[in-house]
Amino acid sequence: MKILYFAWLRAKIGTGEEDLSPPAEIATVGALIAWLKTCSRGHAEAFAEGSLIRAAVNQDYAGLDHPVAAGDEVAFFPPVTGG
């Protein structure tokens, strides 16, 4: 599973992209976040309670219940500020 981070999440986690293979029971965006928090201190900080984070699965916005599976591109980022 390809995981992407943008803006301050990228800075906090220390990379913009990683290829990870979460356990098979990680089947939703919410579960993936819970699992990522265990990966490193940077991940834990980035996904700490109260952080305003948006997720996208295969380049479409996705809620916490959205399914994720091997082969998906999952991105995490703060609320957008372009324009």
Partner: protein, 145 residues
């Protein structure tokens, strides 16, 4: 027409392109967003390649569905920009002015809340990621019905 690019764009050429050689267009509207100075020394625009273009295409498609539009141009720059530099252009051609205005405002409002761009501002006390404005959400919300 959607473009995400680091180089500057020429608003006059882009606006002229919408109506050149056509006689069926009644109104062309445009919006240009620029980097405002003050405490901001520079701004770096980061984006999510691929998703950005997808989101902008979806916004453009929704605008074309809601209003009778004849041409749409969205150009957004990425990378480091200095005060006074252009960030974004939205330009619309339509037979009617009300549609041209509404679609232009709709696209920039939606772009601000949906398109995956992030601004890193360089201020006197360092670099800060810009926080999203509730105000932008409220403006984008106006279009949901």
């Amino acid at each position: 027409m959607i473009r995400v690019q680091s180089e500057d764009f020429d608003p006059g050429a882009e606006i002229a392109r919408l109506s050149d050689g056509r006689t069926d267009i009644g109104a062309v509207t445009s919006f240009i967003g620029l980097v405002r100075g003050g405490d901001i020394r520079a701004m770096t625009l980061e984006h999510y390649p691929g998703m950005t273009e997808r989101q902008l295409a979806a916004i453009e498609a929704e605008a074309c569905q809601r209003w009778p539009l004849q041409a749409v141009t969205i150009i957004h720059r990425v990378g480091r920009l200095l005060p006074g530099e252009r960030i974004v252009l939205v330009a619309i051609a339509s037979p009617h002015r009300a549609a041209a205005f509404e679609a232009c405002e709709f696209i920039i409002d939606r772009l601000k809340t949906d398109a995956p761009f992030w601004k890193l501002e360089e201020r006197h006390d360092g670099a800060h990621w810009v926080e999203a404005k509730g105000n932008d959400d409220a403006r984008a919300q106006r279009w949901r019905k």
